[in-house]
Symmetry: C2
Subunit: 449 residues, 2 copies
């Protein structure tokens, strides 16, 4: 069995910890049995392993997420990078093609697709396993998970099973769907035995490959990648589920939550503050998360979320924390913290002068053995002051070792790259007329020579 995890986009409602590259599934906030915190992605992968499902895991992700995923999961999973974000059908189809062409999976191999940001319990993975078994049947195009509703939610799609449809033991046959109903309709649906659509899909690999071939003709995975933009921007629900002839559903009735807001997220966190936090008296039902190095002091607060990162500071009643999403356009857009394949950076200062000149300062860590690409910038100089570790610098084709205390001045149009021999820390001061991440031209460099 193959599992595809869908790694979704930005989680603006968890600002300032999430931003356009660090989505909610990557936030290492969830308590574990040890002192270490884990992310939603790490939790889902751990739960899959603990469920003893015999499967490989493939994560379908945006290109900017690859570093984060590898940092969090090491070599546990395959990663299929979407060349661009076009919705869940192209993403699932691309991963399916990867499994078929690169993974050499058979047309009859069963695939289960699930979101990587569902907060749930072990029983969920038993249902996943049952779904995989059910999808082997030639009678069903598709098997879905039906989550037993515990309220009349208007936020979910509903699955309406055929009456008395027990097709096989625990499998119901699906009659129809209703997208996000109003409250009265939701009440009616729940009372008549409908389920929430859990966004989990099981199918045989060949079924999706056939659908995909309608849009693009390809013989290799790289060919499909090159033609990715020809696929329709459409969700798996519209393209596959609604057109399926025969759909099964297996109910799941355990804890099942979207930790997409600070309200729902903090319900699952321990009360202990995270980071450099000092609590005074009467700090009640308040969650404080501090990713900055400066301290946060709180006293006499109630039901608050206080969260600080290089992107900003949030202070809100937990019930109102969703509001922040509506104000994101007023909040400066560039991410101030990014975890990349080669390490991490955070922006520690930015200043724009009246004469238009700008300076942006970053603290950068390159992991031992990793490197940034060989590159030039057209609009900025960079000054690197190495503050810890050793590295290999390439500057205009010349390679030399650099270490703590060294200073490297890279003028615009100079070719440069750096690799960590040990974990390598430096302060980068960018200055110029235009300081954007996009001012970068990448070239090949052979690190072996």
């Amino acid at each position: 069995m193959q599992i595809i995890l869908l790694s979704g986009g930005s989680g603006k409602r968890l600002w300032p910890l999430s931003n356009e590259v660090r989505s909610k599934q990557f936030l290492k906030l969830l308590p574990t049995a040890t002192d270490k915190k884990e992310s939603m992605l790490q939790r889902v992968v751990r739960q899959i392993h603990q469920s003893n499902i015999d499967c490989s895991i493939t994560v379908a992700a945006g290109a900017s997420q690859k570093g984060l995923i590898l940092n969090q999961l090491e070599k546990d999973v395959n990663i299929v990078e979407e060349p661009e974000r076009r919705g869940t059908f192209p993403a699932i189809a691309l991963s399916s093609a990867y499994l078929s062409l690169v993974g050499k999976c058979d047309r009859d191999e069963v695939v289960v697709v699930l979101p990587c940001d569902t907060f749930t319990v072990a029983q969920y993975y038993n249902v996943i396993s049952e779904m995989g078994e059910a999808a082997k049947s030639d009678d069903l195009d598709l098997v879905l998970m039906g989550v037993c509703p515990n309220c009349y939610s208007t936020k979910f799609g509903y699955i309406i099973p055929e009456k008395q449809s027990n097709y096989q033991s625990n499998i119901l046959k699906v009659q129809s769907f209703t997208e996000k109903p109003d409250h009265d309709r939701a009440k009616q649906l729940v009372e008549s035995g409908a389920f929430w659509n859990g966004g989990v899909f099981a199918f045989k690999l060949g079924h999706i490959i056939d659908l995909l071939k309608k849009y693009v003709d390809f013989n290799t995975f790289d060919e499909l990648v090159a033609n990715y933009s020809k696929l329709p921007k459409i969700s798996f629900d519209y393209e596959v589920v609604e057109k399926a002839k025969s759909i099964g559903m297996i109910p799941f009735s355990g804890l099942w939550k979207d930790l997409g807001t600070w309200k729902t997220m903090t319900e699952e966190l321990s009360e202990d503050p995270i980071g450099n936090v000092i609590e005074g008296e009467n700090v009640n039902n308040t969650h404080i998360i501090n990713e900055l190095s400066i301290p946060i002091f709180c006293s006499d607060t109630n039901n608050l979320i206080v969260a600080a990162s290089p992107d900003g500071i949030l202070v809100a009643d937990k019930n109102s924390s969703e509001q922040v999403k509506g104000y994101m356009n007023k909040i400066t857009a560039r991410p101030m913290y990014e975890e990349r394949l080669w390490g991490v950076y955070k922006v520690i200062d930015y200043i724009k002068f009246p004469n238009g000149y700008q300076a942006l300062t970053k603290q950068i860590c390159i992991k031992a053995g990793s490197h940034i690409s060989y590159q030039i910038h057209h609009h900025r100089d960079e000054v690197w002051t190495i503050i810890n570790g050793k590295g290999l610098l390439v500057l205009d084709g010349e390679t030399r070792e650099v270490k703590c205390g060294d200073v490297i001045h890279i003028k615009r149009e100079q070719f440069h790259a750096i690799k960590g021999i040990t974990d390598l820390y430096f302060i980068e001061v960018q200055s110029g007329d235009e300081l954007i991440e996009e001012d970068i031209e990448r070239y090949d460099w052979n690190w072996e020579k």
Copy 2:
């Protein structure tokens, strides 16, 4: 008439905006008739000028405050730097000696001493003027301000006037003092007609000079400065007020407040947030002050103070904000923002590695025409990347012009100084085993040669 303003020490209860060098009187938060904010110190000096009292103003201040005071008051005032902080008697005596020896004031010149952090109204300065007049009398050693109490405060000293003592028009004769009484005694005092001691003292210059000569023999002001440590560490109240034979008091009954806590401070501020702040819905009776460049978003908060500076972030109910003082020992001590005579710096990053090596990054601005002292460090290298403006660099005795884009690498034990030709901005990366402000040896440099 001479006015001496006492510039007190740290205001820990206004953390994180105040720190050990930036005391509360320097925080530019108070609303004015224009868009500009002013500090308590600026407000007091403005009010003195507007009162048309014919006087010179001398500020008695700690050495580290001189830059701040000059930046805020320009050349409006004399500044007497205390060689060390030894309490109000030595500070007032030193300023008195300055007026006598440097200012060439007569022994009969009247001096009025007042705190620079009282938040009050114009009428206060009328009383100051009356106190100056009253102090001219040879019958009185000292004239005090008696503030009419509006509650049974246990936080103030009380002045008990002689019954039916109208000595001269509005001047009462003082019978005795009671330091911070308990609530019952305070009630008794207020009901029997006692006043709060306003901490304002008027006297003839010769009176204090005579008291000072008991401790130190000096002929020049510099001689007194050199012997400052011989003066007792004692308050003016104990050394002068309690020993005075004949004390007058003039009542004052207008607005008179110590803005020493966020609770009292925010009562006088406008509701508008200060700095990079985005308010969502239901931000009620909440004051948000942000000195960081990253945004603060607040929603659904009530009666909160949210204050952020390079020193840290405070989130507290206004009524509990005083608590922070008791937790100061848990909060990292070094100031992360300082306004100096030559300009300002803020610490934008600090990291200590497991191998003990440290790096501290500052954004520094040196004002046009100002310079830092010629100096060396024993424990750190510094890398300066100039990000705006032009300056004159001295490195090991060699002078050269530097400008935006230049990088200067200063190794430990190298002599260096820099002067702004224009306003000069640079990023400084310090690295070494010990990064403290005290690792500095200053030398003379003749900028004219």
